[in-house]
Structure formats: C-alpha cells, structure tokens
Chain length 716, copies 2
Amino acid sequence: MPQTQPHTGSAQAVRAVLDAALAEGRTALTAPEGKAIADAYGIPTPAEALAEACDDAVRIADRIGFPVAMKIVSPDILHKTDAGGVRIGLNSAAEVRGAFTSIVSNAKAYAPGARIDGVQVQQMVPAGTEVLVGTVTDPTFGKIVAFGLGGVLVEVIKDVTFRLAPATEDDALSMLDGIRAAEVLRGVRGGAAVDRAALADLVVRVSRLASDFPEIAEVDLNPVFASASGVMAADVRILLTAQAPPVRRKFTREQILASMRRLMEPSSIAVIGASNEQGKIGNSVMRNLIDGGFSGEIHPVNPKADDILGRKAYRSVTDVPGEPDVAVFAIPAKFVPAALEEVGRKGIPNAVLIPSGFAETGEQALQDEIVAIAEEHGVRMLGPNIYGYYATWQDLCATFCTPYDVKGGVALTSQSGGIGMAILGFARTTKTGVSAIVGLGNKSDLDEDDLLTWFGEDPHTECIAMHLEDLKDGRAFVEAARQTVPRKPVVVLKAGRTAAGARAAGSHTGALAGDDAVYDDILRQAGVIRAPGLNDMLEYARALPVLPAPKGDNVVVITGAGGSGVLLSDAIVDNGMRLMAIPDDLDAAFRRFIPPFGAAGNPVDITGGEPPSTYEKTIRLGLEDPRIHALVLGYWHTIVTPPMVFAELTARVVAELRERGIEKPVVASLAGDTEVEEACAYLFQHGVVAYPYTTERPVEVLGAKYRWAGAAGLLT
Amino acid sequence: MPQTQPHTGSAQAVRAVLDAALAEGRTALTAPEGKAIADAYGIPTPAEALAEACDDAVRIADRIGFPVAMKIVSPDILHKTDAGGVRIGLNSAAEVRGAFTSIVSNAKAYAPGARIDGVQVQQMVPAGTEVLVGTVTDPTFGKIVAFGLGGVLVEVIKDVTFRLAPATEDDALSMLDGIRAAEVLRGVRGGAAVDRAALADLVVRVSRLASDFPEIAEVDLNPVFASASGVMAADVRILLTAQAPPVRRKFTREQILASMRRLMEPSSIAVIGASNEQGKIGNSVMRNLIDGGFSGEIHPVNPKADDILGRKAYRSVTDVPGEPDVAVFAIPAKFVPAALEEVGRKGIPNAVLIPSGFAETGEQALQDEIVAIAEEHGVRMLGPNIYGYYATWQDLCATFCTPYDVKGGVALTSQSGGIGMAILGFARTTKTGVSAIVGLGNKSDLDEDDLLTWFGEDPHTECIAMHLEDLKDGRAFVEAARQTVPRKPVVVLKAGRTAAGARAAGSHTGALAGDDAVYDDILRQAGVIRAPGLNDMLEYARALPVLPAPKGDNVVVITGAGGSGVLLSDAIVDNGMRLMAIPDDLDAAFRRFIPPFGAAGNPVDITGGEPPSTYEKTIRLGLEDPRIHALVLGYWHTIVTPPMVFAELTARVVAELRERGIEKPVVASLAGDTEVEEACAYLFQHGVVAYPYTTERPVEVLGAKYRWAGAAGLLT
C-alpha cells in the first residue's frame, strides 16, 4: 500500500487552491480545483483537461485517447447531470465537437447567467463497481468519512457507513465489510473482487484530506469505480466552509480525574439551601445525605437557621469550615449566580445544581451567566436541572429522591430526570448492584466524557450505562470511550434516534449522513454497546457486571424444552452470535447423558422429563470443555426437576467450576409456572443471568457482553 | 388494465408445451418454450426467433431491427451468462455473425456434450429499472409469487417480497410498495416512475400462470425492464416438476366447528388412564378437572379401579355412559392405539393425547398408526405429546399442569410444552385474562387452522396468540386467518426463523425465497401480527384484548418527562406509527393547561413538576378531541403527583369518556420508583396498558394493535 501521508508540497498545493477559492468568496470548488486537490493527496482520478473552446476539446481528447467523457465546468452549476452538462462515451473528434456545443448551450439554458469556465474532457473510467467515498462535517463528531455503494439504488436504501476522520487503514477495511452489500465487493456471480487495499487506501486519503483542512466541509467522490485492478474517482466535488468550528474549553485527563474524584469521593459537602421544612428539596437532600449514612462532613447553608436536622447551619457557604469538595445547590434558579460566586471564591471545586429554571425553561441567559462564573473560578458544574447523584460505595445520596444502597458494579447516568427515576425504580425492584447514579440535566459543564473518564478509573465500577439525547463533544466522548472500553463495557441509550431527519446538504454524502446513522456507526467504532431501548439499557446494566467475559465465539445451548431451543437459536443468530458446530467427540460426550431420543448437536436437547442429574452433567460438561465459550440454558418446569432445584444445581456447578478457575458466561431462559421467578432471582444472585417467560432477553444480554468482548479485543 | 384471465386457447397452448417437455423427461423449459408460455399468458417479452445457423441469425436480426441481443439455446445450459452464451447490443450483420460463432463455441467449451438447439436472436429490451418477477412452490404455502428489484446488488441485499399465488391486483400493488427500494419505482433523482399498473398486471399474470398449472415449479422473469412506457421480461425461465403435491385430508368449516365445539365446550369427558396414585399424569388430570370446577360429567377409565377421586371408574371407555365429547388419554404411548380404537367405536369425536413417545422420539410408525385409526373412525386428535388444554370459561383444566382460572379474552396455543408452561406462568403472574390455552404438540391432526376457525367464532375469545414452529398447511392457515382477522387480532410467534437457510434452488426466485422471508410476507398478507419473540407474544396476548381499536392514525404523546417523550417518539416511529401533526387550535388548547415553558406540539410536554390536574386536563382533552386517535402517556414520578394518583386519575378519565361513548387506545410508560409497578397493575385492570421502566413496551403493544386495525380495515 502506498504512503498515505502527502508531503509538505502537496499540502501547500491544497492550501493554495482553498485560499484562492475562499478569497473569491466561493464555497464550491470547480472540477479542476477538485482534481488538483485529489492529485495532491494521491486520490486517483481520470486524466483530463479543461477545454475553453471546441478545438481545445478535440485536441485534449486526441491526447488522452478515445473514448472520453465531457462535463460542464461552472462554479454556479453543482448538479451537472441535471443541467444536461454531462456526455459520456464519445468516440471521435466529431462526437466531441457536437458534445461541446450541446453541453454549453444546455448549461446556459439551465442556469442563465452562470459563469461557464469551459468543458472538462476526461479519460473514460474503467468499468467497476460504483462506490461512494466522501466526508462531511458532523455537528457532533466533526469530520467524518463515509463509504457506500454508489448508484441510485443505494441512495434509496442508504447502505452507507461512517467513521471519524482521519480513518485508519483498519477503520477503512471495516467500512468495506460494514455495508449490507459488502458481498458485492468480494465478487458475486462470477464477478471479480475489488482491490480492497486500494479502496481502503482511498478512504484513508480522503479522510486525511478532510481532517488536515478544517475549511473543507464536504468531499464527495461519487461514483468511484472499484475493480480488481484498482480504484478511480470519476467525480470529485468539494465544498468549503468559511466558518471556523467552535472552540470548546478542554481539560486534561488529570484535571478531570482530580475534580471528579472530589465529586464522587468527597470528604465534605455543603448543602446550599438546606432546610428543616418537609417537602422542600433542601430538606430532602439533607435527609438523604444523613439517612444514607454518608460518613464525611455535611454542612447545611441557610441564612435563616441555626441548625438543620441537628447539624450546625451557616449563613453563607463562605463560613463553612475546611475545604468542602462539593456544594449541592437546593435554591431557586435566580439565587444561583450569587451563591456560585461564593462557592468559587471559597475554592470549592464542584457545584451540583439541582434547581431547574435555566436553559430548559428558556432561561439561556441565566445559564450562560452561571457558566461564566464557574469558568472564572474553575468550578466544575453538574447540571443544572437534575435530581442530584448517588455514589453508593460512599453511602452518598445527594438527591431529592429516595436513598439507594445496593452496592455493586454499574454506574448509570441520565440526561433526563424521568429516566433517572426509572433507573432508580428498576434498580430497586431487581436489586441491581450500583456504584453510582448521576443526573446530567442541562450539561452546562460536566458531561458524559467527564463521567466516563472517572468511571473508567473507579475501581468499584465494572460497567457504565448512559442515557443521552446528544453529545456536546462527540470526539471527547469517543476518546474517553476508547480509553474505557478495553477495561469495562460502556452501554449507551441514545434517545432521539428518529426525530431528526437527514439534514439539508450539498452533497450525496451529506444527504446520507442522518444523525442517527452517524451516531450508530461511530459509537460502534468506539466500542460502545448501543442499547436499543430504555429497558434494554437497564437490563444490560443489571446483567453485564454479573457475567464473566467470553473468551471465544462458541455458544452452546442446553435445553430441556425443544421449543425453547428453537427460540434460543433464533435469538443467538439475531444477536450476532453463532451456534458452535459441535465436534463428534463432544457430541458423543453429551449423548452419554441424555435419552436416546434426545438430540445432541446444538442445541443439546436433553428432553423434558429429565431429572436434575441430566441438567447437572450436561452443564458441567459444557463448562469443562475448553472449546465451548458460553452456555445458554433453556429450562422447562417439571415435577421431576422443579425450578429451585434447577437453580441451585446450576449455581452450584457454576461455582464449582469458578473455584477451579473456569469462568464462562452462562445465561438461562426459564419456562414454567411462577416459581421460575424466584429461581431466576436466585440464579442472578449466583452469577447466572436468568429470565422467566422470555427466550430473547438472556440472549440479548449475552450478545451485549459479546459485542463488548469483541470491542475490547478479548475474543480469540 | 388489460384482462388478466387468459382464454381457453391460451391455457391449451401452455398445456401443450408442458406436456411435450414432460414427455421428454425435461423439467427445464427452453427459452422458446418459455416465450410461448409467456405469449399465451400475455407476459410481454422481446420479439425473437431461433437461429440454427449463422445466416438465419442475420436474417432474423434484419427483420427485428438492430440492435439485437443473442443467447444460446440449450436444454442443458441453465446459466447462459456463465457459459459465455449471451451477447448484447449487436448493431450490424457482421457483429451478429461474429456473436453466433463465439456463443456456440463458448457453449461447447462450457458444457461439452450439451445439446445445442441454436441461438436466439432477440429485440433489445428498452431501458428501464431492472426488476425480478417469479414464482416458486413453497413446501408450506404452495405456489407463491415473488417481486423484487433485479441485478446483482439486490440479490445480495435480498430486497424481495412474496405473496400467495394467484395474487390479486391489490396484492401486486402492495408488493411494489413492499420492497425497501420501493422509492426507485416511483422515480428518484429525476427518473420517471415506472408504469405501476403494467408491472402489477405482470405480477398477477405470472402468479396466475403458476397457479393454473401445478406442474410449473418455478418461473423466473429476470430481469424484467420496467419503465414509464411499460414492462418487458428480458428472460423467461420455467422449471417443471413431475411430482403432484401431497393431498391433505380436508374438513369443511362446519365440520371443524362441530367437533371443536364439543372439544372446547364439552358436557362429558372420559379420562383414559385416570389414577388415584399421586404423581401420575392420570391423577393430575383428574384432580385438575375436579378442582378446576368443571361442571360437566367426568368419567375416569381404569381397568383396575372401582372409583377414582370419588367418581365411579370404568374398565373401558366402551362402558362409559352417555356420549362423551372428549377422551383425554393419560396412558403410555404403546397402549394408545387399542384405546383409540375403542374411543372411535364409541363415537367420541375428540381424543386429547397427552402421552409422548410418538414422532418426537422417532416413533413415527406408532404415530402413523394412530392417525390411521382416528381417520377410520372420524376422531379428531389433539397432540400427541402435549400438556393438555384449558378452557377457562368452562372451568375446564384438562392438563397435568396446575389450574388456571383468570377468565378473559385471549386464547393461546403452543406447539411446544415448554412454551405452554411459560404461557401459564406469565399469565398467572400478570393476571392475564385467558379464554383458552391449548397444547398442539406433534399436530398429528388438529392444528392451528382448526383452532383459529374455532376461536374466531368463540364469543369469549377476543384475541388469539399462537406459538408455532411450522404450519402443516399454510394455505388452510391463511384462509382461517383471513376469516378471523376482521373480527379479532391473531398474533403468531413463528419459531425457527433463522435455522433454515435459503434452500437449494434452480432459479433466482427460489434462491431468494428463504423460509422465513416467505412466512413473514404471507403472514402479513393474511393480516396476522407477527411477534418478534416469546415475551412479545405474551405481552401482546395480555394487552391487545385490553385496548380498544384505534379508528385513525393520529397518535399523541402526553408526557411529564421530556426524556420519556423523546424515547416514546422514537418508539412510535420504530413501530410504524406516526406522531400527529397538531393543528394550531389544538396546540393552543393544550397550552392552556401546561406551564409557559412546557412544550405543546407533539409530544405534549407538560413538564415534571405538575399537579394531578395538569395530567387530567391534558388527557381529557386528548380523549375528547375527535382528531386524536390514540394516546401515549409518559408519567414521571414526583411528590406532587404520586404514581397511584396518576393511575387513578387516568383510569377515571378513561372510564368517564368510555361512558360517554368515546373509546381510544391509551398506553402509558411509568418512570419512577417501585410504586409505579402497583400503578401499572391498576391501570392495566382499568383498561390502560401500562408498563414500568420501559418506553418501548407500551408503544410496541399499541403498534401491534395498529397493525391489526390496519389489517382489519378499521383505520380510516
């Protein structure tokens, strides 16, 4: 593969073209300008030249060699085909002459007054599969590169995939495999496969071009013809922007961790607006802090009280002794700026802003004001407009909701208060082990990437699950996710998937880059597990810390109900996993334990009437055999093996193997009367992810763990 | 649109071609034979003729007019392109001459010894969108017709749709809209729309051809060129079969209803193998019948007992007094044939065969034996290998499981016993109102279409939900579904979706007709709601009878949590519904009830801190305004409006409107602490489908109701 980094001279050539166009106030480059840039970045395009008159065109065609294509060149005409400005397959001087005349007159008719620079005469591109390569500037993620098959049909089906620019060669190769029609590139029905290395190299070069020059808003190579012998872009369209992207305040990883540690593991908390009056938020927060058992200092601040809930109250946060780590605000919005000033002067690093009445109710100015105050004093803000936050391992409940104390491995965050309440109720009813629950609200400062950076380091947190409606800085999030994912799963529920349509755009790539498609691909590129819905996020959060990571792809189903086995197999394929092809010796080993009319293979169908020992022997075999990487169990309620008997034997075998150093993910679907609910709860507590009345849920959770294991590089 | 029914002469022409080919032992027709059949059925194809020698070819081309295409004609070469047997765009006599020579020599090299009949010289087809129209013979549904876009790309993406043959014009038009790339047919990027009527007519004609002639196994028109001016099939491939399809025993609707009524509403039941011994199936069945409160006669049959559980026992079913409606078998498989003989001779119309040990354990011969006995005596059989059946409104529990007595509107059936147990546990824990639960097991006789026919008539049943792994007779099922769907929703969980790959096939259509794609399209065509998983089926079964049918498409979200509103909107679009565009006057009406910073529009965001009256007023408005057809509520747990307060006010408003004759589906997502679970149960009992901790589930259920309402023709 050729070098992808252009030399300095090439970058200067691009710079010259861009500067000239911007100086003329143009944001659309002409085809010759596009070609000059493509040449500088090693992007293959057909030989061509600009003909200003008919005779030029014939001369150029003679030099390039017939057949040639011809296209109008005008800064005012973007859609050349629509303007009747394109002719192809011209085989003779006479045809070239005729084409020149008709192209120019068509263009004049289409856009009277357009500046016409001439007609480009171009080498005909060798046949191949039409693909599209482009870049756009995404409001969330900045420069992104797109790849898809070209042509009208794919535009309709939107079979296109996105990555952050610049893309690596691996990114680019993953894009070739990431479209639904990937098979076409590998050659179908006798067609030859395209040159994958050349195509990936093209994607890398285009992504680097966009990344190197902030003023390049969109690049559209459409179509690119890809064949076994290489790639060539038939059309290069480049759009510029004169606007510089907004600059966002940045913190180093160390700065983030330092303030987040004081937020999440505080020694001293001031509660501004603490109150003795029941029903007030400042009362709920105080009570929850005290009742939750927080062992650090709790300092109520209230100008009108001497003590609150038995603790000495201070007239102002300025009077609070020592160095509080966190100031929790439980006062109306209009009083926040003055109090925040005091917090800043006091040197308190974190402000937790519970009150609403800021941007979410239209009070953007008030929010801008507090952001400015916080920036001036170096205070990091959580909120405003939040329920507060929980840090269970600190017995810390700085919220106006009810306490939650089941310590465990999942950290949950939500942009919306309603979703935060759903998290709390779900966690309580399912006894989900939680390390933290954090409200993000308006995200005036602290957001998902700060929390991800912290939870990635937090030893109590084994999995992070986040509800979000937007990302303020998609690149910062991706960076934090990439640091975290190799160590722990990150689950994201991205709301607002269907609300925004495709944005108005000046290129094919832009039109294809709907918000959600971009989020989907780039979150996956970052190794994030995307939850399709709220309940999925909650179940992943509950189950992922319970399951050990799989070490390979071989999933085996062991079932007492043939019917469950079929549904479990469906779910395994639906969730991107594969049923292990059972080797003969393993098949024979399973058959020793099951009735003659049972079915080995995969699913292993032990049949319905079997005693506990059959479940036990087959599950032990499944755990012991090193070729098997994960077990999916299908239990069928019978008198011979009641639900709790199944649950206890399964938990026992799993524990036994764990003691012998063998850990594999085991999930179970329990079909039966209501006793299976208790059995599922027992199994969950003992490390087996189990659900009643569903064959889908346990497999979806296993699939989420597999997606993470793949992203974390754990699968061999 | 032209007449689609060919005249008798045309049918005779087809018959002659088929008979001649079959007489020669051929199952693949030649291109000229295919064209003859196409001509007879009014399927447009290019003008063409067979050239046996080079000079013929030139003569024919002169007559048709240049350019022409040429193709090898050989009964031994199916894939002409692969054999180098196709040339297109031939513009002169010289080109035709050269093409003839090379086609023949390529074909000889490709398939030495192949019979070569000559080369077909063909009118070049006018440009257009490439589509595929075909038919195959499906093992479940018989003759089906396929439509998709043509070309390599679509073959890879498998964008194709299926209907039963013969298809109506409406079916055919729905196929044009039923592919993902449907937009291409409507014209994209300045292209003209295709002639939809002509294309639909072609689909109808092809489907009728396949349907009229059982021996036509597959028809493949690929590509068909469709344009604004019409359609033309460039290639016609027809494959025959010499095998007649198996004939299945048929019953009339009246026969089915007569025996099903006696099965589901029996006056007298004999239990063969009834037992006093605890733990025996014959004991469980007796106890469940008695304890369940069945008010009809219960006659135990046991040669070794005088009485069983206080009822007089009979040595043989022959001795049972009166005319029992049902004989429940609780004896080992090997004793079933003899007992079934006696049941037959006694004239008992229904045998419920609980025992296993038949086809499912490899004992096919034993199963064939009982089928023969039953057929001889006109006994209908349920099972074997089942848990039995429940008919709650008869207080009838003829199973070895535990009784279930929550009477209600859903009838559930399952092919698998494990799934049956999951139905029972789920129903009990959610208090689902049930009319019947029926095990189908090996389906040696009674199957889904019999049950559907009955439940369609049963006044207690408002919704039918069926788990199935296969259909013995897909057409009988579709017929029963079509009769039932206009009156009640039919939900199907089809297991085994991913197990079977695409079958080996001799045509493009055949290769595209994977089992599941066909099931999916044809179940939809029949108006059946397909549940994606077990838990979905169970939730649909629980909720659909609770919800009134919507009368139009306008869905409005009213939410206390903006975050839930976003997720609910996502779910509405995901489930194929649409958020109503709120007219200005309605918007103003909502705004009167919500805070100034709340958002009207849709979702109507009443904001989080509102009192019960805000929920109440907005919900009442939503129900009262006749332009709104369904409500989706998003509740957020606050101290101001606790969960049960929300539940009670919602139930009260819904009831109040119901009394005024206004019924609309209302579903709710409750986000909050665990009290929301009780609130959801209360809402469900009062006709509002409500779920905690999920924004997806209530909307999925509403979506299922909408899909049914659409299929039943209830949406205006």
